[in-house]
């Protein structure tokens, strides 16, 4: 619980940990509310992996990512998972709501959502590893890191059919909707 709290504070730009009981209580109450509002969903696919120079080839050509950083990240792995997670639309709506009701709560709730969506991702990553009976995995590498552009969001959404499976869409500027969503690629062995 304290870890959650500290992560939220980090998102809010805190350089030291606010120890006042009332503030901790407020943050944790908003976190609980966020968890209730969320409809967390995840989906993943497991693919054979081939690395050719700066090209990352999945499932014997089902999809290709051109990214030297991703290729470097996955070096030494023969298999990978493509994962998408989302907290769902109710969280977006609540963020809008709080921006009308109280900006202070809005920024805290928003930070809670950032922390929680990462928790949901790491939970999904654990699931994937167990599912694939893999001993090791890399950390999940997301579009926007290094030279892996946001443009690949469209390919990932298509690959995992996330619109139908978890209600995750991408707009024309490659932003994910719902807002609190992450996609990632993770090496497995």
């Amino acid at each position: 619980m304290m870890e959650r709290y500290e992560n939220v504070l980090r998102y809010l730009g805190y350089t030291s940990i606010e120890k006042s009981g009332a503030f901790i209580e407020q943050v944790m109450a908003l976190f609980d509310e966020l968890v209730k509002d969320s409809v967390p969903r995840n989906i993943y696919g497991i693919y054979d992996l081939e690395l050719k120079d700066k090209r990352v080839v999945l499932g014997k050509g089902t999809v290709v990512f051109n990214s030297g950083h991703l290729a470097g990240h996955l070096a030494g792995y023969r298999e990978c998972a493509v994962i998408a997670v989302t907290l769902g639309l109710p969280v977006d709506k609540k963020i809008s709501y709080y921006q009308s009701a109280d900006m202070s709560r809005a920024v805290i709730y928003n930070a809670c959502a950032n922390v929680y969506v990462e928790e949901v991702l790491s939970y999904a990553a654990d699931q994937v590893r167990k599912d694939a009976k893999a001993g090791y995995n890399t950390f999940p590498f997301s579009p926007g890191y290094g030279d892996l552009g946001l443009e690949v969001q469209k390919e990932i959404i298509e690959l995992l059919q996330t619109e139908k499976s978890i209600g995750l869409y991408v707009n024309e500027r490659c932003l994910l909707i719902p807002e609190k969503s992450i996609t990632a690629i993770m090496g497995l062995k």
Partner: protein
């Protein structure tokens, strides 16, 4: 439609079977109806041989949006699909399958309710023309889209309609709709059966189905997947055997499910076993459920547990500020009132836009849409204009209450068809052609007439709430008790829920609050179910909270203790009796005391003095502390909200004295394609704190709209926000577009991926790293 004495069996998956037949690669499997009719017929035949009662056409995605890139029309595809099914169906019924459009609905996505309706309408018309026997709308996750589809089906055909939604483990859809809400809305819309399909296997679905059965008065259908899906190298696989699947579906039949079938991963072997196993099962009888439920898209109020509070403040009568907001189309103010009432504890909001000079029939639906964008509180449509009522009931996302019908024949003739069609609850006023009866007995008679007439329209008793009408104690003192007696009889003899607008009672007498709250307590003791009140009134809320303790509704007095123990603690002991200094109240963000403290300060200083001597220095101190990392964003925003509230009081005061606060205007927008706007809104509140008028265009705003608004509002300074690398290009094109049109505009930009250099590169005049810097820049610009 369905044989009451047996379980009805649908077929299994279409997609799974198409893949098994070796057809792969098409993005639109519905086109196989035309290109591979034998294969589709073969699939139908397999299911029929397996013993299903109803075959479903291969038309899940046969809508205009999904067929956009193909050379076929909706009519072509559905015509061929129905032909394929009918060719082999023998005596089995053929259901037109309709899935979700495949586009997100507003406000999160681009599809409006009307667009969704039109797409579904084309499918329904094509199905009806080709003589399908029924329509199954399936795998929906957005209840609003479901409403559009069901309405399209019912308005454009006379066919029976089934609707299923798809839930996650948590019992909610992607968009947050829970089971109670789903049942309440779909049943209200008059579907012939409702239920669950896809996403989950029968194991995971069992508990959810049980809950659906508890609330549904119509037959329930289940079509689970053959377990949970897994994707391996692009192939989706499902784990359950037919044997296990059928066993678990039969468990659901045993608790009351009437219609069964399979979704993804099931094939003819599943359906064969299923139809054999349910053949001799006798369906459980369905009892009508008596719950009065009012829903938004994800929140349902169950009336009757305790007194439900209906917020009354979105009603221009006697409210000059709201009146002005309506006239000026200032929906931000109205939205603020909605959010405030929700915060205060209202459970339903009454929404009224009846004002001379306002086109109510378009304004009320618009307000409802705006409120539903940010707030999930269920709404009460308050209008005496029938067209307005219908327009509002149509666009409302959920199951609303209509306020109101009365015992006049004309009123019932107009209102009940609307309530029936859109599945609304409706408030019935106990008055008729002869006015409001004096005696309780006569009012109960009218109530009885309203209830029985509603039933003739097919509206069940549970959807009626009776208002026995409060008259003023000043004019009709003897009458007050008649209202209460009538209320009691309506509730306990007619078994109908009751509602009252409480504050009418005190008109024309001094100390109105005292009368209102006393009457409120009396009404609650007589059995009131819903009260239309001002939830901002501390005294009324106080007696409500106390009543809930004393009538054992607030168990363990938990809510009461939380609310009232905290109130004292907010203030330090030595200050509790005294007036607070405004500075203290603002710096602590004590929202409850701001109004009082600001008014007190206005006795000592002018508004401008308050701004210069209290607010500005405070903002400076807070800003400095923020920069030195002595306080952080939540505290900064807390002070900002407090200052904003103080500004409201100051502005009201100045306006009353014919003064205006004019420090300059700035326009803010998040650029096209960008949906993240919290950063922009932080800037907005900080700028307002500095006295600027902010014209906020919201998020995902086109360059054209920004230019237009800037010209209309005579603003020169434009603040733009973009969060991602992909949307900074929108920012660049926006600046270019506007500067190409005119060189009189000045741009400040901000956002996570920007910096000074990048900002210059895209043509901005200023870059602000955060809200405080933005305020400094704006200050310096206006100083010049």
């Amino acid at each position: 439609m369905f044989d009451e004495n047996k379980i009805t069996v649908f077929d299994g998956a279409m997609g799974t079977m198409i893949q098994k037949q070796g057809l792969r690669g098409s993005k639109i499997p519905e086109l196989y109806n035309i290109t591979e009719p034998q294969v589709i017929q073969q699939i139908h035949r397999k299911y029929i041989d397996a013993g299903c009662d109803i075959v479903t056409t291969n038309t899940f995605g046969a809508n205009r949006y999904k067929l956009l890139d193909s050379t076929y029309t909706v009519n072509d595809v559905i015509g061929a699909a129905v032909k394929n099914a009918k060719k082999v169906s023998k005596d089995r019924k053929v259901a037109l399958d309709i899935g979700p459009v495949g586009m997100l609905m507003e406000p999160s996505g681009p599809m409006s309710f009307e667009q969704a309706y039109e797409l579904f309408m084309e499918q329904v018309l094509a199905g009806a023309e080709n003589k399908v026997d029924l329509i199954i709308i399936e795998t929906l996750s957005d209840i609003y889209e479901a409403k559009a589809a069901v309405l399209a089906a019912k308005e454009n055909s006379h066919l029976p309609v089934i609707c299923t939604m798809t839930l996650g483990h948590d019992g909610r859809t992607f968009t947050g709709t829970d089971i109670l809400t789903m049942v309440n809305v779909l049943e209200g819309l008059g579907v012939d059966a409702l239920g669950l399909n896809c996403s989950l296997g029968p194991d995971e679905m069992y508990a959810h189905v049980k809950k659906v059965l508890e609330y549904s008065s119509v037959p329930v259908i289940v079509q689970p997947n053959a377990g949970l899906p897994k994707i391996i190298n692009g192939q989706t696989v499902y784990g359950l055997t037919a044997e296990y699947f059928v066993k678990r579906v039969c468990d659901m039949v045993d608790i009351g499910v009437r219609i069964v079938g399979g979704c993804c991963g099931t094939d003819e072997s599943f359906i064969k076993k299923l139809s054999e196993r349910v053949k001799d099962k006798i369906p459980k009888k369905i009892f009508p459920k008596e719950f009065t439920m009012i829903s938004s898209y994800c929140r349902t109020v169950l009336v009757g547990d305790k007194v439900t509070l209906i917020g009354e403040r979105i009603n221009p009568t006697g409210k000059p500020k709201l009146k002005k907001a309506l006239e000026e189309k200032n929906y931000t103010y109205i939205l603020g009132e909605a959010v405030k009432q929700n915060e205060e504890g209202a459970e339903i909001l009454d929404v009224n836009a009846g004002l001379p000079g306002i086109e109510e029939k378009t304004v009320l639906p618009h307000i409802i849409r705006q409120i539903q964008k940010v707030c999930d509180i269920p709404l009460q449509i308050d209008s005496s204009d029938y067209e307005t009522m219908e327009n509002a009931a149509r666009v409302y996302n959920g199951k609303a209450v209509i306020n109101s019908v009365n015992g006049k024949a004309e009123s019932m003739e107009k209102v009940f068809p609307i309530a029936k069609k859109y599945g609304c609850c409706v408030i019935g006023l106990t008055l008729d052609e002869n006015g409001i009866p004096k005696t309780a007995e006569k009012r109960v008679e009218i109530a009885q007439k309203i209830v029985s007439t509603a039933q003739e329209y097919g509206i069940p008793k549970k959807n009626i709430l009776i208002d026995c009408l409060v008259l003023t104690a000043s004019a009709e003192q003897e009458n007050i008790i008649q209202t209460l007696k009538a209320l009691r009889d309506v509730k306990y003899k007619l078994n109908v829920k009751t509602v009252l607008g409480v504050s009418n009672v005190s008109y024309g007498l001094p100390s109105r609050e005292l009368l209102n709250k006393t009457f409120f307590v009396m009404a609650m003791s007589y059995g009131l179910d819903c009260a239309i009140v001002n939830t901002g009134n501390v005294e009324m809320m106080g007696v409500y909270d106390a009543f809930n303790v004393l009538s054992a509704k607030d168990l363990g007095s938990g809510k009461y203790i939380k609310k009232y123990a905290q109130q004292k603690a907010e203030l330090p002991a030595d200050k509790q009796e005294n007036q607070f200094g405004l500075e203290y109240v603002l710096s602590k963000g004590l929202k409850g005391s701001i109004r009082e403290s600001t008014l007190a300060e206005l006795n000592k200083r002018t508004p401008m003095q308050i701004i210069d001597e209290i607010i500005s220095p405070l903002l400076q101190t807070v800003g400095k502390k923020y920069e030195n990392a002595e306080l952080f964003l939540p505290q900064l925003m807390q002070t900002a909200e407090a200052v904003k509230a103080a500004f409201e009081v100051l502005k009201d005061h100045m306006k009353a004295n014919g003064q205006m606060l004019k420090k300059g205007k700035i326009l803010l927008a998040t650029v096209r394609g960008d949906i993240h706007d919290i950063g922009k809104n932080i800037v907005k509140v900080v700028l307002e704190n500095h006295g600027y008028e902010v014209i906020d265009l919201g998020k995902d705003v086109s360059e054209h709209d920004i230019l237009k608004a800037a010209i209309e509002n005579k603003v020169r300074l434009i603040g733009l926000s973009a969060l991602m690398t992909t949307t900074v290009s929108s920012m660049e094109s926006t600046i270019k577009y506007i500067k190409d049109n005119s060189d009189e505009f000045v741009f400040i930009v901000g956002g996570a991926v920007l910096n000074e250099e990048y900002a210059t590169m895209i043509g901005a005049d200023y870059y602000a790293k955060d809200a405080l810097q933005a305020a400094e820049i704006v200050n310096s610009i206006f100083r010049e």
